[in-house]
């Protein structure tokens, strides 16, 4: 009996492998292989504009990155972009979720409205903001700002407003995600804890700090991890609104890597930039995951 079962399990295992095989192979071919190729090419000189220099470069690409001012500039922009947009998404998303929780009826309406920006393609979002919202003289945002007496601001045409604009656009699109996750988390909190707190005369602020926040922390951490990973590798919306400009004022690391590879045709150095972005993204998410599990235990 025992033996037969083992035989069955092993034959099923073979069958299972056979079933998973094609999918696994496709996955390896479409994700693992390109990744390995990217890492390989980051150690090569591959420059289509100077094919005669192509060959093994060793750490050369990484070494020259250290003295590349544009790399550090784009890294700094990536940090500003990620930190500020994730913070804003979390703060606004949580605020909205707490507000909507107070509404007894019709919450579904807010949930549906919140989904709309998320389902738009980032390129569409970028073009929409560029032409309809932020265009000087004609855009809605500029119209409002002028009506408030601040004068016309050239949102996408001046260095600092351009960076602020792409952060606002990213926040606008992805705050609903934080809002939905936190709203679901808030809705599932046990009412008896709050009742007990109220009997103990905890005020609203104390209830929020000592009960709500600790209870929804797992949701907050998940939001921070997911949003950081996406913000670090943001591309399409910035590409569509400013193209990294004006000058290089909004050229985050991802855009710089793209430009180096596909505009300047220096694939070796571009790969090294992309690998460094990969390492940073993995490092940041790793730390966040570690914090999450460490706190829990």
């Amino acid at each position: 009996m025992k033996q037969r079962r083992g035989g069955l399990a092993s034959s099923e295992q073979g069958f299972a492998l056979l079933m998973v095989g094609p999918g696994l192979l496709a996955l390896i071919l479409t994700t693992t292989f390109p990744l390995a190729y990217l890492i390989w090419s980051s150690f090569q000189n591959i420059n289509l504009a100077m094919p005669f220099l192509n060959g093994f470069a060793g750490m050369e690409n990484y070494v020259s990155m250290m003295s590349d001012g544009q790399f550090w500039h784009s890294l700094k922009l990536t940090a500003i972009y990620t930190l500020s947009s994730v913070f804003l998404q979390l703060a606004i998303g949580l605020g909205l979720a707490l507000l909507v929780m107070q509404i007894p009826k019709g919450q579904w309406l807010f949930r549906i409205a919140a989904i709309l920006p998320i389902v738009l393609a980032p390129v569409v979002v970028g073009l929409f903001w560029r032409t309809l919202m932020l265009a000087p003289e004609f855009g809605i945002v500029d119209f409002i700002v002028r009506a408030l007496g601040f004068g016309s601001i050239n949102w996408l045409g001046s260095p600092v407003p351009a960076l602020v604009s792409v952060i606002i656009i990213h926040t606008w699109q992805w705050t609903p995600f934080a809002f939905l996750v936190l709203l679901a988390s808030l809705a599932s909190l046990p009412p008896d804890v709050f009742e007990a707190a109220r009997i103990d005369r905890a005020n609203a602020f104390q209830r929020f700090i000592y009960i709500t926040l600790p209870l929804i922390r797992p949701a907050i951490v998940i939001v921070v991890i997911m949003r950081s990973m996406i913000a670090l590798s943001a591309f399409a919306a910035i590409f569509a609104t400013t193209g990294g400009g004006p000058g290089t004022a909004s050229e985050i690391l991802n855009l710089y890597a793209y430009k180096t590879s596909f505009v300047e045709l220096n694939f070796g150095y571009g790969s090294a930039l992309a690998v460094s972005l990969l390492i940073i993204t993995m490092g940041v998410s790793g730390i966040l995951f570690y914090l999450r599990t460490a706190r829990r235990s």
Binding site: N45, N47, L48, A49, M50, P51, F52, L53, Q70, R130, A135, P136, E137, S152, N154, L156, G157, S158, P159, T242, G243, G244, G245, P246, G247, T248, A249, K259, F262, V263, E264, L265, N266
Partner: protein
């Protein structure tokens, strides 16, 4: 009737059968002239194929080949696509045009060429990319095709009839690598009504261009003085700045062949550009490409600009423009060096060297057909659709009355400004021709825009560009 091909055998067959059946009734006499007419006027659907068959080559030598050509979705290629069935009828080659947006066509072409897949037998190529293509042997030199009497009858094709500047910029070290199909010159465009009212004349010098802009500038009444491309890109702001740089007497390479972009002339040219745009252009001009400029001019909010003559298609179109009939054209003003420098832009067709010999022959036949006088005419003034091309590739076409009649409606002095620019103001060294152009062009574009928006001073931006370019050229 011996050279009648498949498509026309059918009707004649039917006619003959009809003729036999009705011979006794005498209707044959009526049917016969119809048969004769069909074969004598060897018309394709869109052009007279006999004038193409006058070429002493075998148009059907690559029969059965299938080729794909990447082009941008512009009117001049859509017109070509519309008459493509005649090419199939003439050669038996099945050519397909794959429309790819201008922002992506260079990258797609480079990826295709560098991987050697031969997906695109040819594509509408940016002339600035030929040094890169040639450095990698991605495209065939075309002198061998032009000189091969089996492939080309140059008495008929007349390569030399193609505009000289365009031939120059699609050649590397004297050898042609692409055949120009459609192109443009940059010219001055101004509001004639505004200029007449203020007593202004189209600018002869750069100072005058600025002072004209200043005189017409009236933002309170929604009229800005001038606009030029401000958007960052090798094909955007780095399309206009080189003309200014050259007109200021700038040289891309010094005597020893070292590339220099921060010379005193470069600084003066960039300062002129920034001064003009900061003082007299609408806000947001740093993100404007030519369609934005043409739209604003068409809405009557810009008094003058310098850009491609083909933008006239937008501003002279009554459906899109409010200033039809109020437009004047002129050549570029003279720079401080005394030179006028127009762009030397064209879309040309190279041959992908990864193709088989038969497909190369098929591609060459396509190129020869598309660049021929007959096809240029059939896609320009003779085209039945609403869009008529304005960038024909041949001197002889520009001399034709019918062509000029269609173009002349754009506005005052349009044809003369454009043809004089073609003839006298082109400069093959308009932009730096080297394999690293994509990186160099982008670096310059970033520097120009950064100084326009005040992210860096003119000299800082150009010094930084110089440093970066030296790194790029060193590898």
């Amino acid at each position: 009737m011996t050279n009648v091909d498949g498509n026309r055998k059918k009707p004649t067959g039917v006619t003959r059968r009809t003729a036999l059946k009705t011979a006794a009734s005498g209707l044959a006499l009526l049917a016969a002239p119809a048969t004769v007419m069909r074969s004598a006027h060897a018309a394709g659907k869109h052009m007279d194929l006999d004038s193409l068959r006058a070429a002493k080559i075998d148009w059907r030598q690559a029969e059965g080949s299938k080729i794909t050509i990447g082009v941008i979705p512009a009117g001049y290629f859509k017109n070509l696509e519309a008459v493509l069935s005649d090419f199939a009828e003439l050669t038996g080659v099945e050519a397909r045009l794959e429309m790819t947006p201008p922002g992506q066509i260079r990258q797609k072409a480079v990826l295709d060429l560098s991987t050697g897949t031969g997906t695109w037998a040819s594509h509408s190529a940016d002339p600035m990319y030929y040094p890169l293509y040639v450095a990698n042997n991605w495209v065939d030199p075309l002198d061998g095709y032009l000189g091969n009497s089996k492939l080309t009858d140059n008495d008929w094709f007349q390569y030399e009839d193609i505009l000289a500047g365009w031939r120059g910029v699609t050649s590397v070290d004297g050898k042609p690598y692409g055949i120009p199909y459609d192109g443009e010159a940059t010219i001055q465009v101004y509001r004639k009504d505004v200029f007449d009212k203020l007593g202004l004349k189209p600018a002869e010098t750069f100072e005058q261009f600025t002072s004209n802009a200043g005189a017409a500038h009236d933002p309170d009444n929604r009229l800005w003085g001038a606009a030029l491309r401000g958007f960052k890109g090798a094909g955007q702001n780095m399309y206009i700045y080189p003309s200014i740089f050259r007109a200021f007497g700038g040289e891309w390479f010094d005597g020893s062949g070292k590339m220099t972009v921060n010379s005193p002339e470069a600084v003066a040219a960039l300062e002129w550009y920034i001064n003009l745009l900061n003082n007299y252009a609408p806000k947001g001009v740093e993100n404007w490409n030519w369609p934005d400029i043409a739209d604003a001019f068409g809405q009557g909010t810009v008094a003058s600009y310098i850009d491609a003559h083909g933008s006239a298609a937008v501003i002279a179109n009554p459906e899109k423009s409010k200033v039809v009939g109020k437009i004047g054209f002129a050549r570029w003003p003279k720079g401080p060096s005394g030179k006028r420098v127009t762009s030397i832009w064209n879309w040309s067709f190279p041959i992908n060297s990864a193709l088989s010999d038969k497909d190369k022959a098929a591609t060459w036949l396509f190129i020869q057909w598309a660049a021929s006088r007959e096809t240029q005419i059939a896609t320009s003034h003779a085209f039945p659709g609403a869009y008529k091309r304005t960038g024909a590739n041949r001197t002889s076409v520009w001399a034709m009355d019918d062509y000029r009649a269609v173009l002349g409606s754009a506005g005052d002095n349009f044809i003369s400004a454009t043809t004089t620019s073609f003839a006298e103001d082109t400069d093959v060294e308009w932009r730096p021709r080297l394999p690293q152009w994509p990186a160099v062009g982008d670096t310059m574009a970033t520097a120009i825009q950064a100084s326009l928006v005040g992210q860096a001073t003119v000299s800082d931006a150009l010094n930084e560009a110089q440093r970066k370019i030296e790194g790029i050229l060193k590898g």
